[in-house]
Structures are given as structure tokens and as C-alpha cells.
């Protein structure tokens, strides 16, 4: 065995952790090597020093007394938890209610109320009986006023025909009025819902409202004649969607004999076709042609009056 191997094993040998073979080798080496023997004696002397280490600690009886007190208290608590006490149960009935779960309970009730209210507001309305519709259909028109679109999502643009003649056409379409593309869930915002007696009529009304918004939006696109192109991508996509819908609704109206609806949808369709067939970046002349036709045919007013 070499000295460095022996020195590495000296600690384990002294601790009694070296195996039998290692211990034999160390013992054999120590008898022949004075240097390693000195190291071994130094380590033994060190260990001897540690055995003299006196912490001067006394075990006070108070330690056990405190332990016993805590153990007894814990045992009593366990016993109390496991035993059913009639007196405690009765007194519990008349005790002040604990407020520990008060906040979570209030929060749960609040959530339930909010969810319930939201459901109540958005629940599908039942089909109105025909009698109601009849009664309301014979009601006098409201002083000839057009039904108002009160959807807050729509920032209604100033129609060109109502704008001052001197108003310049600026080359900006960034402030395009926002259109609510989703179908309105509450048709009373669009037209008095008493005017519709079934789901198809509701679909038609919603469709016409969206078409009206599309035409208003299209008519309000701001551009100048010097622009090379006008961005109509949004209107084009919306028009394609409405066109598909329009075809289906028009056929349905024709088959069910609802001729006013069929006529209205038929009048609308060419505008949807024209807008749907525009490129995303349309020529100003093409846009102007369509807006002129919208204005001339008063299709928007017709849609409002439907």
C-alpha cells in the first residue's frame, strides 16, 4: 500500500468504517511507515480532544414536565375530537354562528346571482303567440317615424346625402364606423319584436339590419378621387357572408309566401353582389358607382322602413 492510499483511508480506519481488507492493509502499512504512523497518532490525538469536549449541559426536570404537559394536552384534544358530547352539541345549536365560512358563502351567492342574471338576460325569448302579433300589428304607426337603431356598437356615420355639400372628401378611411357583425341577440334593439312572429322573421330582420349597417358603412368610406385605391376588404368579406344568407332567406320567403320579405331581400341582393365582387383594394370610381346607386335607390331608407 502506498502512503497516499493509506492517508486516504486513515479517517475511515479510525472511525471503524474501513472494511476488513482495507483495515489489514492500513495496519500493515503503519508498522512499516513512520510518516503515516505520525499522521495516525495526530488523528487519534484530535479525536481525544473531541472526547474532552464538555457542553456543560444539564437535563433539567422542567424539560420533561413541559413535554408531558404538551403530550397530555394533545391527548385530551384527540379524545375530545373523537368523543361525541351531547352537551357540546346542544350548546353548539345555540352558540353564535361562526363567521369562518361567511365570506366564501357570500362570494358563492354573489356569483350565483350574477350567473343567474346573465342567463335571464340572454335567455332565448319564447315564440310569441299569434294573437299578440295581431294586436300589435294593428297598432297605429308611431307617428311615421322610422324605427331607431339603438345598437350602441354602431357609431352611425353621417350619410353623404345628409352631409354638407362643401364637406371635403378626405383621403382617410381609418375612422370607418364599426359594425356589429354578430347577430343581435335582442331583436328589440332593432325593431319592435312584436312585429315578428316566428324565427324566420327574426332571422330576416336581423339580416336586414346587418345589411343596412353594411351599406351605411360602405357609403361612409372616406376617400378622395386622387386615391389610387380604396380599402374595402372588410365590407367585401361582410358582403359575401350576407349574400349567402340573403339567397337562403329570399328562397325561404318565396316558398312560404312572404312576398314583402322576398321583395326586400331581392332589392338588396344586387348591392351585396356588387360589393362582394369588389377587390380588397377597389378603384374609387367603382366605389363611387355603388354608393351613388345606394343613394339613388334609397335602399337604406327602404331597409329601415321594413
Amino acid at each position: 500500500m502506498k502512503c497516499n492510499e493509506c492517508l486516504n483511508l486513515l479517517g475511515a480506519y479510525l472511525d471503524g468504517e474501513a472494511n476488513e481488507r482495507q483495515a489489514d492493509q492500513v495496519r500493515a502499512h503503519l508498522t512499516t511507515c513512520a510518516q503515516c504512523e505520525n499522521q495516525f497518532e495526530a488523528l487519534t490525538a484530535e479525536n481525544e480532544i473531541y472526547t474532552r469536549y464538555d457542553r456543560e449541559i444539564q437535563i433539567s426536570p422542567a424539560i420533561w414536565n413541559r413535554i408531558a404537559a404538551r403530550i397530555n394536552a394533545e391527548d385530551r384534544q384527540i379524545e375530545r375530537g373523537s368523543k361525541f358530547s351531547l352537551a357540546e352539541w346542544v350548546s353548539g345549536l345555540f352558540a353564535m354562528p361562526s363567521l369562518r365560512f361567511a365570506m366564501p358563502t357570500v362570494a358563492l351567492i354573489a356569483i350565483a346571482l350574477v350567473v343567474g342574471l346573465a342567463y335571464w338576460r340572454t335567455r332565448p325569448l319564447p315564440t310569441k303567440p299569434d294573437t299578440t302579433a295581431k294586436v300589435n300589428n294593428v297598432a297605429p304607426p308611431t307617428s311615421g317615424k322610422e324605427p331607431q337603431v339603438t345598437n350602441p356598437e354602431i357609431e352611425r356615420p353621417t350619410p353623404l346625402d345628409q352631409a354638407p355639400a362643401s364637406a371635403p372628401i378626405v383621403a382617410s378611411n381609418s375612422k370607418r364606423p364599426r359594425i356589429n357583425t354578430s347577430r343581435s341577440t335582442d331583436q328589440s334593439d332593432v325593431l319592435p319584436d312584436v312585429a315578428f312572429t316566428d324565427i324566420e322573421d327574426r332571422d330576416t330582420a336581423s339580416h336586414l339590419e346587418q345589411a343596412q349597417n353594411l351599406l351605411l358603412s360602405f357609403r361612409s368610406i372616406k376617400y378622395s378621387d386622387t386615391d389610387e385605391e380604396v380599402d374595402v376588404s372588410y365590407e367585401r368579406v361582410e358582403s359575401r357572408r350576407l349574400l349567402n344568407e340573403n339567397v337562403v332567406l329570399r328562397r325561404d320567403a318565396e316558398m312560404t309566401g312572404k312576398f314583402p320579405a322576398k321583395t326586400m331581400l331581392g332589392s338588396l341582393e344586387p348591392f351585396l353582389i356588387d360589393i362582394a365582387n369588389l377587390p380588397d383594394k377597389a378603384k374609387p370610381s367603382d366605389v363611387r358607382q355603388i354608393t351613388d346607386r345606394v343613394q339613388k335607390t334609397e335602399i337604406v331608407a327602404e331597409l329601415r322602413g321594413y
Binding site: 468504517e17 497518532e41 472526547t51 474532552r52 457542553r55 449541559i57 408531558a68 394533545e74
Partner: protein, 205 residues
Amino acid sequence: MKRLAQELSLEGQPGAFAGSLMNSSADLVARACQGEQEAFRLIFERYSRPIISFIYDLVGDRELAEDLTQETFVRAHRGLKALREEAKLSTWLFGIAKNVARESLRSRTRQQQRVELDDAAVLDLSDRGPAPVDQLLDRELNGVIRRSLAALDDDKRMVFTLKILHQCSYEEIAEITGFSIPKLKTDLHRARVEMRRRIGPYVRV
């Protein structure tokens, strides 16, 4: 060496009856589990000295060591039923004591520990009456060992304390600390070197 032997054996422990079959560790544990408090008191008397010494070696504060010893035995009583039959009671208790001491050490800053240790060492040397030279040397040596232990990092101090001051085997140390044998061997070797540097002047070869 004799003192250490006393700490780890039943010899001289009040209430403990060495060699009595009725008071083997396994028997005491079984009786304590059945709610016999006297059996648990005997366990306390048998192991309180090595446990409080071990905790003191780790935290370096007598009062704190007493409190943590109390906590160790209360926890041991709570978990006695979970003690596996094959587990050695002393190793299990040392493991609980190690956890309790570590939790306490974590909550104190290292600076605070050093101040307390230094103060204790000064008190040891100054607040007692005249003593023979050997006694003074022993007290000084106690202070040096205490401060040297405190200067070790937590892992090295724990391994060194268990091996050198409490004569635990590597396997027992591994079980108590959760360290691997190679890690604890390395820590022990380094701790020995660091301790040797500090206590070297007191070693007489």
C-alpha cells in the same frame, strides 16, 4: 470517551434499566404507542442527553437547545405509531432532532448565531471563580471547539457532529441526514481539515 459512552448507553440514566427485557427500545415504543406515558418518559430519559447535545452542537445555544429538545420529543410522541419496526429508535430521534434544529436555524440569521456563540464563550471564561489551570484550559478548549463547530457550514457541522461527537456509523448518518455516503465522506473529510486548523494548537502528539 467514557462520557460519550455514557451518553449513548443506558449506564447511569435514571429510570432506565439496562438489560431489562421489559425496557428494550422496541418494548418501550410498543408500550408508549398504547398510551403508557411512563414508557415514553423512559425513552426520554434514555435519549434526552444525546439529543440535546446534538441539537446544541447544531444551534450553539443552551436555552434554544432545551426548547428544541422539547419540540423533538413532542413530535416523536406524535409520530411514534409511524415508526417502522426495523428502524432504530436513536436514529429516528436524531432524524427528528435534525429537522427541528434545521427549521430553527433557517429562521435565524447567521450573524445572530455568531454573536450568541461568541457571547457564550466569553461568559464561560469570565463569569466563574478561580479554577485550576487544567480546568481553564478545558474551558478554553470547549470554547474553541464550539466556535470551530459554529464556523463550519450546516452540512459539514451535522456530519462531523454525528460522526466524531456522537459516534454514529456512516449508514446511520446517511439515514439521519438523507445524504449519500460519498457526500458525507467528503463533508466529513473537509470538516476534519477545517477543525484541525482551528484546534491544532491544543493537540498534543
